[in-house]
């Protein structure tokens, strides 16, 4: 019963997502909406703005540095939580 329900749910879900995908822009096409002025400015100005020739690094550490800051906080939060859950050596303290 549970299995049938899960399978139906999954199939419905995939169906919905594929339905949305069938409307999406074509894969790898240069005139897609995603390749607009935003990404062009990143490619064009990155060296001048940030001094990084690796554009990805320029984006994650300068343009969108707030994201990366959040990302290191995620790691920190996970490390603290894992310490809370698993650390035995602190029990004797």
């Amino acid at each position: 019963m549970k299995k049938i329900l899960s399978v139906t749910l999954t199939i419905v879900f995939i169906g919905i997502l594929l339905f949305a995908l069938s409307e999406c822009p074509e894969f790898g096409n240069i005139s897609n909406p995603a390749n607009n002025y935003v990404s062009h400015r990143y490619i064009d100005q990155c060296v001048k703005d940030t001094g990084a020739i690796n554009i990805i690094t320029g984006i994650i550490l300068d343009y969108r540095a707030f994201d990366t800051f959040g990302e290191s906080i995620v790691l920190f939060a996970a490390a603290i939580s894992v310490i809370v859950v698993l650390n035995k050596s602190r029990e004797q303290v």
Partner: protein
């Protein structure tokens, strides 16, 4: 640019950097004071931000050197600044209240880490509220879901671990769905900033109509899982019941609300209410909200455990909020935002009081709370304020929010739903009032009970008393805050 414009970012940095310092501080007392003072400082800065907003209007603040759409920006209007005051105010009170109760529930070695996680959690929630960049919101959502599971699991019991794992897996599923929604939106607009996405969406909304509906659906379900919308609320009762009571208060009062604020921002700022009203999503939200109102109340009546009852009551109250948003009209959103504030005040008071009661009587059962009103009159006084507010008695804040819901229903011409509202209120009364009656009345209930025998000192109860005062104060004079919320929704 005014100095106050820097404050939102400064609040985030203060909370985060103070959280980074806490694990290396050895003295627990220092950690507690440090955490409280960071929160109070944030509260003061939030008040200044609010004043700046009411003087200069909504402003955007670019984080770093690059303006949107290339960089990330924070956008602070009335809604954000009110929510920021509310979050920091309630978080400060909860942290203050936890000073006296946390030792009973958490091992001493973990207390420093507990306050670290609290700081990270509040900072990430404020990040969700402030940020105007959808992917940045996603990052903050992830921080908050890890930190929220962390403050559930900090109490080292069997049930806590099960509850936290359930919460973590479900909320990770939810954030996966949100990320999928972002991917669809990015592929049709090429932007991540909410205002810019909206600009592009207006142009392409006919071309990609189904994609937009499905991505809004993904956002709804994803954020719904995290804010315990009715059919996907299954993690909430466990997590709220077994967590330490200060964590339960924080989860119920603040964590759920941040995702709802994000949902409101998505509806108004990212899609625009016109586009959303042309889609069937809000109707589904309306139905699930109404179902949640009834289901949560009925489940709460069936519970025997005090905290579990309050947890199911949260499911019902979240149902109210989604119900208000599902009405789809302006007043519905005003009522929903007002209920966010009302529920945050009430539920944090109730959970903190429940923690006190459980600690003093060593019993979680509702049936054993007989005569408790004689033993702990002040504690029960706060409980009564919270309970009556939940039921919707005039003079308490809960009444005002129910009144607003009723106005919104009438405005939207869906009169039948008034019945749902009334039924849910009656059901609320069915499970809150017996506790009060058992606590104060009935001859055999109160005999042998010594007046104030189990009461805690008043300074310990001060945070709860402040919350009770706020419940009554806003219950009597809610006009100002409703005007502000009206302005804030109009300004989104």
């Amino acid at each position: 640019m005014a100095v106050e414009a820097n404050f939102p970012l400064l609040i985030l940095l203060i909370l985060l950097i103070s959280a980074f310092m806490m694990p290396v501080i050895k003295n627990i007392r220092t950690v507690k004071l440090f955490s409280l003072s960071a929160m109070l400082l944030s509260l003061v800065l939030s008040v200044f931000t609010f004043k700046h907003v009411s003087r200069a209007g909504t402003f955007v603040y670019k984080v770093g050197h690059f303006a949107a759409p290339w960089g990330i920006e924070l956008k602070i209007g009335y809604l954000e600044s009110i929510m920021s005051i509310m979050f920091t105010f309630i978080a400060a009170l909860i942290i203050w209240a936890s000073f006296y109760s946390i030792e009973h529930e958490v091992k001493e070695k973990n207390i420093g880490l507990y306050y670290t996680l609290c700081g990270l959690l509040i900072a990430s929630l404020l990040g969700i509220v402030y940020s105007n960049d959808i992917f940045n919101c996603f990052v903050f959502i992830e921080i908050s879901s890890i930190a929220a599971s962390g403050i559930v699991v900090v109490k080292d019991n069997k049930e806590n671990i099960k509850a936290a794992l359930k919460y973590l897996i479900l909320s990770s599923l939810g954030s996966g769905l949100v990320l999928m929604g972002i991917a669809f939106l990015y592929s049709v607009t090429g932007n991540l900033n909410m205002d810019y996405i909206h600009q592009e969406l207006v142009n392409v909304k006919d071309l990609y109509h189904n994609t937009l509906i499905i991505s809004l659906g993904l956002f709804t379900v994803g954020l719904g899982v995290k804010s315990a919308m009715f059919p996907v609320h299954i993690w909430l009762p466990d997590a709220h019941t077994y967590a330490p009571s200060s964590s339960s208060a924080m989860l119920s009062a603040l964590v759920l609300k941040a995702y709802i604020i994000l949902f409101i921002k998505i509806v108004f700022r990212l899609y625009g209410i016109d586009i959303v009203n042309s889609m069937p999503v809000l109707d589904i939200v309306l139905v699930t909200g109404a179902a949640g109102m009834i289901y949560g109340s009925i489940m709460a009546i069936l519970q025997k455990d005090l905290k579990r009852m309050i947890a199911y009551s949260s499911v019902a109250q979240i149902g109210y909020i989604f119900f208000g948003m599902g009405l789809g009209n302006f007043l519905g959103f005003v009522a929903a935002v007002f209920h966010i504030i009302s529920h945050a005040l009430t539920k944090s008071a109730l959970f903190l009081i429940a923690g006190n009661i459980i600690h003093q009587t060593h019993s979680k059962e509702i049936g054993s709370l007989k005569g408790i009103g004689i033993e702990m009159p002040v504690t029960m006084g706060v409980f009564i304020a919270g309970a009556l507010s939940m039921v919707g008695i005039p003079l308490f804040i809960g009444f005002n929010s129910k009144w607003n819901f009723a106005l919104a229903i009438i405005d939207s011409n869906k009169i039948l739903f008034i019945a749902v509202l009334v039924a849910s209120s009656v059901l609320n009364a069915v499970y809150y009032l017996p506790i009060i009656i058992n606590g104060f009345f009935g001859e055999e209930n109160i005999k042998d009970k010594v007046f104030r025998s189990k009461e805690k000192p008043v300074q310990v109860l001060l945070p709860e008393l402040i919350l009770a005062f706020a419940i009554v104060y806003f219950g009597i004079s809610s006009k100002g805050i409703i005007d502000l919320i009206t302005k804030s929704i109009a300004g989104l």
